[in-house]
Symmetry: C2
């Protein structure tokens, strides 16, 4: 995971082993995930030190393979907050939350900046990848774009965090016929989002190598 020193690699390897055992404890005999999905789950538990995520992650409509394809084709990734952009190992990433137009639109229309930022990113979302780790309203807006404006993202990673609307937004995402990765309940957040998409980017690179 970006480690170049022996110490860095040792920590990463030892951590991966512990993470695998913790996941086994949580999942017991009910492991219903394939190898690639397990790899993503491991990254999330590694990033959060919270094994509960093994029970919370949901993969719908072949999201990993669709994501790998999109990344290999160099499709854009649209994210809701700059922290996610800073964490993604990929060049073609867009975050409009601090765009001057977003402030204008949000104020004028009385919507959240997160919603305005997704509306502004519409053309990148269509045929691209969406990664939301913070804002439920951004995820609801992406779902609206899919349903009402026929926008078709290749993959939506929807893991907004929080006790208000986050669970509901992710439930709504799982009802849409789009490849998606999400979490059940209020948990989620930027490290979860980054772990998932960096995992998919790593898969896309390994296949090339």
């Amino acid at each position: 995971m970006g480690a170049i020193s022996k110490e860095g690699l040792d920590i990463a390897n030892k951590s991966r082993e512990i993470v695998r055992n913790k996941i086994k404890e949580v999942l017991g005999d009910e492991i219903k995930f394939n190898e690639k999905e397990m790899g993503i789950i491991e990254r999330v538990v590694h990033a959060t030190a919270d094994p509960e995520y093994a029970k919370l992650l949901v993969f719908k409509n072949n999201p990993i393979e669709e994501g790998i394809k999109a990344i290999k084709e160099g499709k854009p990734i649209v994210v809701d907050v700059n922290m996610i952009k800073a964490g993604i190992r990929y060049n073609n990433v867009y975050c409009f939350i601090s765009h001057p137009d977003v402030y204008e639109i949000a104020k004028k229309e009385g919507i959240t900046r997160a919603v305005a930022s997704m509306r502004l990113a519409k053309d990148y979302i269509d045929g691209g990848v969406v990664v939301i780790g913070n804002s439920p309203t951004a995820l609801f807006e992406v779902i609206r774009l899919i349903k009402e404006e026929c926008i078709k993202p290749k993959l939506v990673v929807g893991v907004p965090v929080g006790f208000v609307q986050a669970s509901e937004s992710k439930e709504a995402l799982r009802k849409v016929e789009i490849p998606s990765i999400s979490t059940i309940g209020p948990k989620g957040g930027t490290p979860v989002a980054v772990a998932i998409i960096n995992g998919i980017i790593a898969y896309a690179k390994d296949k090339r190598a």
Copy 2:
């Protein structure tokens, strides 16, 4: 928390209320925190949707007041990863993890990039604020700088995440006579780090206003 629309503010307010109740459930009657500490705890639980943090956060040597003072004086903040830099609402923030010298030093000396980045930031750390949300080795290096090179940060926010060395690094931090905020156990991470330091920055601004 940066919300400008009515919807954004409503979500923030409702969330804060739920967060307070969840924290009460976790802490029960044993609330031993002052008002400013509770504000920081609320931000962390808000950022992670994980009320357990109310039991994990440790404030040592008057860290919030020392942090507020440092921010008001415009002292630099040194962080371990760019995700944290992207999340902090402050101008004077340094992250050297991707600095070309850091790659060189890490390779040559067989240390992690995180350690090399702290070594390179030494002059900023002395009299500044350190925020570590990812790398235990970075935190161990800061502790070494304090003990062996008489470097004196005004505040160390040490919340690296993970099952290898993270707990130990935070325990070591709590043994040093420096203002610090840390978590017990493997949990932590970039959103926890950002929530804590943005809370302190907010306190510093309110006092000015």
